[in-house]
């Protein structure tokens, strides 16, 4: 039998027998193991389910069904395994605090990690390479972005489960008035210059574009990093040391953005958080923004006779001189290595990633959570709503913060200090892109030295 856990007190591995167990002891151990299996409801690696509590901490889901299903599934596992399960869903911004306390003081077994957090907490996570590879094999292999972002130095410190992605949401009517053809079909292949030109027209009509450049987890980073990459700049090169941020092409592109901000954007965006653009879009103040599918999801549920839903569509991030990019990596379900229930936590994750459980949770999100394995790229769910189809393409363009280096703790630190985002904010506030870039470069050098 596979030994899953060094902390497992009643392991029945061959090693123990070699140390001199008698036949009677072997029989007793076997009987104890059988008893444990019976108690733990068919989860053979849970040594003893009695009095065990599994604490699961995840982020909240704006699609209520996803959270409800995840909660029900955790309870279902608890019933089957005979353990008590606490499943908590926390506001995204509070997760790091909770993880930090959990690492120091315990109390958390399973944790949902955002991209890069597997690097940040690498020393505190259980190696789950074997389990992750099982999931990949069953699903026809991981998608490329998962292969790029899901592991740390070749080991999976958690099982990847995809991620929610953001892209450009826009009002069809506003784009059509601005002269964009086939806006109702979605998926337009625009350059940043073309996109800014539409912004200018829309602002003239009283409906500018909106973009958060504040300090919030999702939208500012999701917008600024892809624009930087598409403009031929990187926070760091593939050696993980050389800063390639303050480039002539990026200076040129940032100047264009500064002009576009004046001409086509709601200029209060420097103080926006992740919810501000949702609010602005849903209240008809802006014509387009970078966001997850939450805007479209909310518009589908409005009691306006489908007006806003029908007028909303999506397109990929526009292209720059260096190509098209999305800031995107996988989330992982990890186990803290100070957990007293590593065996139960592993069983839970193995159980939850079975297709009959995982796919149910994944499908209810209607494409908001992008697939982690290739088989799900062809899932019938993608045909349910054509306006969500474009989200399936995002993984192709996904790069993580720290690109072209590794998405390591330095990349995470640079992101948590919002250096790239603040460079954009400083540029639009001062109008001096060169000065903002020099500031950003100095900050990045301090981190990557």
């Amino acid at each position: 039998m596979e030994k899953l856990n060094d902390n497992q007190p009643t392991s029945i591995s061959g090693e123990t027998t070699e140390k001199g167990m008698t036949r009677r002891q072997v029989i007793k151990t076997g009987a104890a193991a059988a008893g444990a299996v019976a108690l733990s409801g068919g989860f053979p690696y849970i040594s003893s389910a009695q009095n065990k509590t599994l604490n699961i901490v995840r982020g909240t889901y704006f699609i209520p069904g996803a959270q409800e299903i995840a909660k029900q599934q955790a309870e279902e596992f608890g019933k089957q395994a005979g353990v008590k399960v606490n499943a908590d869903f926390l506001n995204w911004t509070d997760l790091n605090t909770k993880i930090g306390a959990g690492i120091q003081a315990g109390g958390i077994d399973v944790i949902e990690l955002w991209p890069v957090q597997n690097h940040l907490y690498a020393n505190n996570l259980v190696d789950m390479t074997e389990e992750a590879e099982e999931v990949a094999a069953r699903g026809g292999g991981f998608e490329e972005y998962v292969l790029n972002s899901g592991h740390v130095n070749g080991r999976y410190l958690g099982i990847p489960h995809g991620n929610n992605a953001g892209t450009i949401a826009y009002r069809i009517s506003a784009f059509e008035k601005a002269g964009v053809k086939h806006a109702d079909k979605g998926g337009m292949d625009m350059t940043w210059d073309e996109y800014f030109a539409v912004a200018k027209e829309c602002k003239k009509m009283g409906m500018p574009f909106g973009q958060s450049l504040g300090h919030s987890l999702g939208d500012p980073i999701g917008f600024c990093y892809p624009y930087m990459w598409a403009s031929g700049a990187l926070e760091v090169g593939d050696d993980g040391k050389t800063i390639l941020f303050n480039t002539p092409t990026f200076e040129y592109a940032l100047n264009k953005f500064v002009q576009a901000w004046k001409d086509g954007y709601d200029e209060t965006g420097t103080s926006w958080d992740d919810s501000s653009n949702n609010r602005a879009y849903l209240s008809g103040k802006i014509a387009s923004t970078f966001n997850g599918a939450s805007i479209y999801y909310a518009s589908k549920r409005r009691d306006d006779g489908g007006k806003l839903m029908n007028d909303t569509h999506h397109m990929l991030m526009p292209k720059g001189t260096a190509g098209r990019y999305h800031e995107f990596g996988t989330q992982t379900m990890g186990i803290l290595n100070n957990s007293e229930n590593i065996d139960v936590a592993k069983e839970y994750l193995k159980w939850w990633f079975q297709p009959e459980n995982f796919d149910k949770w994944w499908r209810v999100q209607e494409g908001y959570q992008l697939h982690h394995v290739k088989n799900l790229a062809n899932d019938p769910m993608w045909k349910d709503d054509p306006k969500m189809g474009i989200f399936k393409e995002i993984p192709k363009y996904g790069r993580l913060r720290g690109f072209a280096g590794n998405p390591n703790e330095k990349a995470s630190l640079a992101a948590s200090k919002y250096i790239v985002v603040d460079t954009f904010a400083k540029a639009v506030q001062s109008g001096d892109a060169k000065d903002a870039l020099e500031w950003g470069e100095r900050q990045l050098k301090r981190i990557y030295r």
Binding site: Y61, N91, K98, A105, N278, S294
Partner: protein
């Protein structure tokens, strides 16, 4: 002239007072207005945002049916009341001892207690979490009931020490002459004279417990064991989607108990805080 002075009085006192009152009450009004609007009206800019066009209880219904708001309220109330009671009891003992009992290092301890109050709680949450983890108290009421007093006792003791010092020593000396013990003096003489000070310390402690977020998030954030601040943020903010109506309903209901207590005891609160401000 009388008329002139009335106008002047109105301009100098009542106009600023009304403006200030409106400013203070506006957040409550806004919470109330938004909590009674349907979600689609909240996002419709064509409608007057300061008034309810289509009245609905759906946000309150969501709050009570789809979240554990009743449990959050109970948890918050229980923890705030017990922590406050514990803190005030300890603070009375500490404050009285420091004010009246002269023992080696008593002055230094008085300053030390105040300095402890200056340590930011955010610096202490990791070591505190280790203690709570070691005691196996995560996700129990005791986790917060035992940790909140560590923040409350230093300030409350310091506040009460100052208040006890304003009570003339002679009263206590007379009681001693009449045969009272220190405990009897404390219970029968000092405490009845210190009601404003004790009330102000109580309100301070209760408010801090009621609103506390960080420790409640770390120590007690599972299922129905959340407090109102943590439950509101974790269950009514889903990623970048905020349930504005229910958020406002929760914030409004969550602020009622504190507002209620303040409205009844504000007179004592102010006199308690200012009692030791001047020598007399």
């Amino acid at each position: 002239m009388m008329v002139g002075s009335d106008k002047q009085k109105a301009l100098q006192i009542y106009v600023p007072l009304v403006v200030y009152t409106l400013l203070l009450l506006f957040p409550f009004y806004w919470m109330g207005v938004v909590s009674f609007k349907p979600t689609s009206d909240i996002f419709t800019l064509d409608l007057n945002p300061f008034w309810v066009q289509r009245f609905t209880f759906e946000n309150y219904q969501y709050l009570f049916e789809n979240t554990e708001f009743i449990s959050w309220m109970w948890n918050t109330m229980l923890i705030a009341v017990v922590s406050t009671a514990l803190s005030i009891f300890c603070s009375i003992c500490i404050g009285y001892a420091l004010a009246r009992l002269k023992f080696p290092g008593s002055d230094f301890m008085g300053i030390g207690i105040f300095l402890v109050y200056l340590v930011p709680p955010t610096l202490l949450f990791i070591p505190m979490a280790e203690v709570i983890g070691a005691l196996n108290l995560f996700n129990t009421h005791w986790a917060l009931i035992l940790t909140y007093p560590t923040q409350l006792i230093p300030f409350a003791s310091w506040l009460l020490m100052g208040y006890f010092l304003t009570i003339p020593k002679e009263i206590e000396e007379s009681a001693l002459m009449d045969g009272c013990s220190r405990i009897q003096i404390l219970i029968r003489i000092v405490l009845p004279l210190s009601v404003p000070g004790i009330l102000s310390a109580t309100i301070f402690c209760f408010t801090l417990c009621w609103n506390e977020f960080l420790y409640a998030l770390i120590f007690m954030s599972s299922g129905d064991m959340k407090t109102i601040p943590v439950g509101t943020v974790s269950d009514l903010i889903k990623a970048d989607t905020l349930f504005w109506g229910s958020l406002m309903a929760s914030a409004l209901l969550g602020s009622v108990p504190v507002a209620f207590i303040y409205s009844f005891f504000v007179k004592y609160y102010v006199s308690g805080l200012t009692a030791s401000a001047v020598k007399g």
